[in-house]
C-alpha cells in the first residue's frame, strides 16, 4: 500500500473527499450568507435552519406525497425561497433602518422557532433519506472508491456556486444588485425597484440554503439539528474569507472543508476545532479576512 507521511493514500484521499463534501456545503452556505449580507446588511442566522428546512421539505415530499429526489431538488429550494420572501416582506424589511445587529437577533429567533418546531414533531434523531437510484453505487477510480452520490454533490455544488457567481457578476440583474449594494438610493432614483431587489435577494439566499439542504439529505441524515451546528462553522468560514467577495466565500468554503479533512487524518481530535483555529490565526494576521475589503 502506498504511504504518504506514514498515512495510507486511501485513508488520506478518503478524508480529503469527506472534506471536499463538507467544503461544498460550507461554500454554498457561506455564498448565500455573503449574497444576503452584501445587499441587506443582515447576517442571516436562520441560514442553518433554512438548510435544515430544505432537507425536511425533501423528506416530507418523499414520505407524504411520494415525490422523489429530482423534483424535490427543484421544489425544496423554491419552497424555502418563498418562505424567505415572506419573512423578508413581513419582518426583515422593517429592520433595515435599525442597527444590523437586530437583523442578526431576529433571524436567530427565527432559527430557534424553526428548529423547535421540527424538534417537537420529529425528535432529535435523524431520518434517513435514500440516495436516488440513478446515483446509487460507486465508481472505482483506481486509487480509491468514489460513491456516485458524493461525486454528484461536489459537481452540483460547483455548478451552483459558479452559477450564482455568474448571475451576480455577469448578468444585468446582477449588475443592479451590485449597484444597489454600493448605493441603494441612487439605484432607486434610476427607477430600479430596490425593495423588490432586496426581497428577491433574501429569497435567493434562502433558496441556496434550501438547495444545500436537499443535496445534503442523502449524505447526512435529515435531522432538526443539522443546521444549527453547521451555521456556526459557516460563520467562522465567513469571518476567514471576509464577506467582501462572492468568489472569496466560495474558495474559502472549499479550502476549509479540505483543511478539516486533512486534520481528520493527522490529528482527529482537533478536526472540530481546526476551522476556529484558522479563524483565530487569520484574525491575528489579516483581521479583514482573506478576501475582505472592509476593516
Amino acid at each position: 500500500m502506498t504511504m504518504i507521511f506514514g498515512i495510507p493514500v486511501q485513508a488520506l484521499l478518503g478524508q480529503l473527499l469527506v472534506g471536499l463534501i463538507n467544503g461544498s456545503f460550507y461554500a454554498m452556505l457561506s455564498l448565500g450568507l455573503a449574497v444576503i449580507f452584501g445587499l441587506l446588511r443582515v447576517i442571516n442566522f436562520a441560514h442553518g435552519a433554512q438548510y435544515m428546512l430544505g432537507a425536511f421539505v425533501g423528506y416530507l415530499l418523499l414520505t407524504h406525497l411520494g415525490i422523489g429526489y429530482w423534483p424535490a431538488l427543484v421544489l425544496a429550494p423554491l419552497i424555502v425561497g418563498l418562505f424567505g420572501v415572506v419573512v423578508e416582506r413581513l419582518a426583515l424589511s422593517r429592520l433595515y433602518d435599525t442597527d444590523p445587529l437586530y437583523g442578526l437577533l431576529f433571524t436567530f429567533g427565527l432559527a430557534l422557532v424553526l428548529e423547535g418546531i421540527f424538534r417537537y414533531y420529529y425528535g432529535v434523531s435523524g431520518n434517513p433519506y435514500a440516495v436516488p437510484p440513478l446515483l446509487a453505487g460507486g465508481t472505482n477510480l483506481g486509487f480509491m472508491f468514489l460513491p456516485n452520490y458524493r461525486g454528484w454533490v461536489v459537481v452540483a455544488s460547483l455548478i451552483v456556486c459558479f452559477g450564482t457567481w455568474a448571475l451576480i457578476e455577469k448578468t444585468r440583474l446582477g449588475s443592479y444588485l451590485r449597484a444597489a449594494t454600493e448605493n441603494p438610493r441612487l439605484v432607486q432614483a434610476f427607477g430600479v425597484n430596490v425593495p423588490l431587489l432586496l426581497t428577491l435577494t433574501y429569497g435567493l439566499g434562502s433558496a441556496l440554503a434550501g438547495l444545500a439542504g436537499i443535496l445534503a439529505a442523502p449524505v447526512y441524515q435529515v435531522s432538526p439539528l443539522m443546521g444549527s451546528d453547521l451555521i456556526i462553522v459557516v460563520f467562522a468560514v465567513v469571518v476567514i474569507g471576509g464577506m467582501g467577495s462572492i468568489l472569496g466565500a466560495i474558495v474559502t468554503g472549499y479550502m476549509l472543508g479540505l483543511a478539516e479533512g486533512l486534520t481528520k487524518v493527522f490529528y482527529p481530535e482537533a478536526s472540530n476545532l481546526v476551522v476556529f483555529v484558522i479563524m483565530a490565526i487569520v484574525l491575528l494576521v489579516r483581521p479583514a479576512g482573506l478576501f475582505g475589503r472592509d476593516a
Binding site: 431576529f106 436567530f108 428548529e115 423547535g116 444549527s228 462553522v233 460563520f235 476551522v275 476556529f276
Partner: protein, 323 residues
C-alpha cells in the same frame, strides 16, 4: 451602534423614586425565600447577574457578544472541579471560577475586538463554539455526564451551605455585590468612556482614547462577572454540564437583556426573571422552550426593541416632555 442602546436620562426627580424602588426590591428579595421555592429564586438571581454582566458589554459598550456562555459555563466547570476534585472551600472555588472566566474573556476578547459589529458577534460565537468542543473532549469536564455531585461545603469554614437559607443568602449577597460592581463600573469615568465608544467609536479614538484597551477591559470585566454567576450556579445546583457552554445559552442571555431593556440597570434583572419563570412554567406544560424563546426574540426585535424597562422609561420621559 448608537441606536442599540437607550439614551440615559437625567430625570432628576425620579432618582429618589428609583432608590426607593431598589430598596423595596432588596427587601422583597430578603423576604422572598419564605414564600417562594429558594432553588428557583437562586436560579433567577444567577441569571440576573449573568444578564447584567452581559449588558455591561452590550448596553454600555455597544458590543454584542454571542459567546457569553463560555464564561458562564466555563466558570461553572472550574468551580465544580476545584470544589469537588481538589476539595476547595466554596468561596475559593467561586474566585477560581471568576479568575478562569476572566482569563477566557481576555483570550476571546483579544481576538474579537479586532473586528466590529456583526463580525464581533460572529467571532465570539465561533470561539465559544470552539470552547464547547473543547469541553466535550477535555477529560476534566467528564463529557456528556458533566461534573455531578459537587459538594456545597462550608462557607469560610463556618456557614453550612447545605442549609437552603444559608445558600440563598450567600447567593443573594454575591449577586448584589456583582450588580453593585456593574453599577459602579457603568457610572465611573471608565464607564463614561465605554459609553462614548458605544456612541461614536471614531470620535473616541480621535479624542486619544485607546479604544481597543477599553473594549478589552470591559470584555474581561463582563466575562469575570458572568463567571461569578456561573460559579454560583454550579454551587447551587451542585453540577456543571455542557448545557451551560452551548450557543443556546449565549442566546438566552441576549434574550434576557433584550426583553428587559438593553442599556438599563434593572432591565436585565427583570428580563432574566421573566425568562427563567417562563421556562419553569413551560417545563411542565410540554410546550417546547426553544419555540417560545424564538418567538419572544422575534417579537422583541420587531415590536419593542427598547425592552420592558426601556419602554417604561420612554413613556415616563415622553410624558414629562409633553407635559
Amino acid at each position: 451602534m448608537a441606536d442599540l442602546s437607550l439614551r440615559e436620562t437625567s430625570a432628576k426627580p425620579s432618582a429618589r423614586l428609583e432608590w426607593a424602588l431598589v430598596g423595596l426590591g432588596i427587601l422583597a428579595l430578603l423576604a422572598a425565600p419564605f414564600f417562594v421555592y429558594p432553588i428557583f429564586l437562586m436560579k433567577m438571581l444567577c441569571f440576573a447577574l449573568f444578564a447584567c454582566a452581559f449588558n455591561l458589554l452590550l448596553g454600555y459598550t455597544g458590543l454584542l457578544s454571542f459567546g457569553h456562555a463560555t464564561f458562564f459555563g466555563g466558570a461553572a466547570y472550574f468551580t465544580a472541579h476545584a470544589v469537588k476534585v481538589w476539595g476547595w472551600p466554596p468561596e475559593a472555588g467561586v474566585l477560581l471560577g471568576m479568575a478562569g472566566a476572566a482569563l477566557l474573556g481576555l483570550v476571546m476578547g483579544f481576538f474579537a475586538i479586532r473586528r466590529q459589529g456583526i463580525y464581533f458577534a460572529m467571532i465570539t460565537l465561533a470561539l465559544s463554539q470552539m470552547f464547547f468542543f473543547f469541553c466535550v473532549q477535555a477529560p476534566f469536564t467528564q463529557g456528556e455526564d458533566g461534573i455531578q455531585g459537587v459538594p456545597r461545603g462550608m462557607l469560610f469554614g463556618i456557614l453550612d451551605l447545605n442549609a437552603p437559607m444559608n445558600m440563598y443568602y450567600f447567593v443573594l449577597v454575591a449577586v448584589l455585590v456583582g450588580v453593585f460592581a456593574i453599577w459602579r463600573i457603568v457610572n465611573s469615568p471608565f464607564g463614561m468612556i465605554l459609553r462614548s465608544i458605544r456612541e461614536n467609536e471614531s470620535r473616541a479614538i480621535s479624542l486619544g482614547y485607546s479604544v481597543a484597551s477599553y473594549k478589552l477591559g470591559a470584555f474581561v470585566m463582563s466575562a469575570a462577572l458572568a463567571g461569578l454567576a456561573g460559579s454560583l450556579k454550579a454551587i447551587v445546583f451542585q453540577f456543571a454540564t455542557l448545557t451551560d457552554v452551548t450557543w443556546q445559552m449565549s442566546g438566552e442571555v441576549i434574550l434576557m437583556t433584550l426583553l428587559g431593556g438593553i442599556g438599563t440597570m434593572v432591565g436585565p434583572i427583570i428580563g432574566a426573571s421573566l425568562v427563567v419563570g417562563l421556562e419553569n412554567t413551560l417545563a411542565t406544560s410540554g410546550f417546547p422552550v426553544t419555540i417560545a424563546t424564538g418567538l419572544i426574540f422575534m417579537v422583541c426585535v420587531l415590536v419593542f426593541r427598547r425592552g420592558i424597562v426601556g419602554e417604561v422609561y420612554a413613556r415616563v420621559i415622553g410624558r414629562a416632555g409633553t407635559g
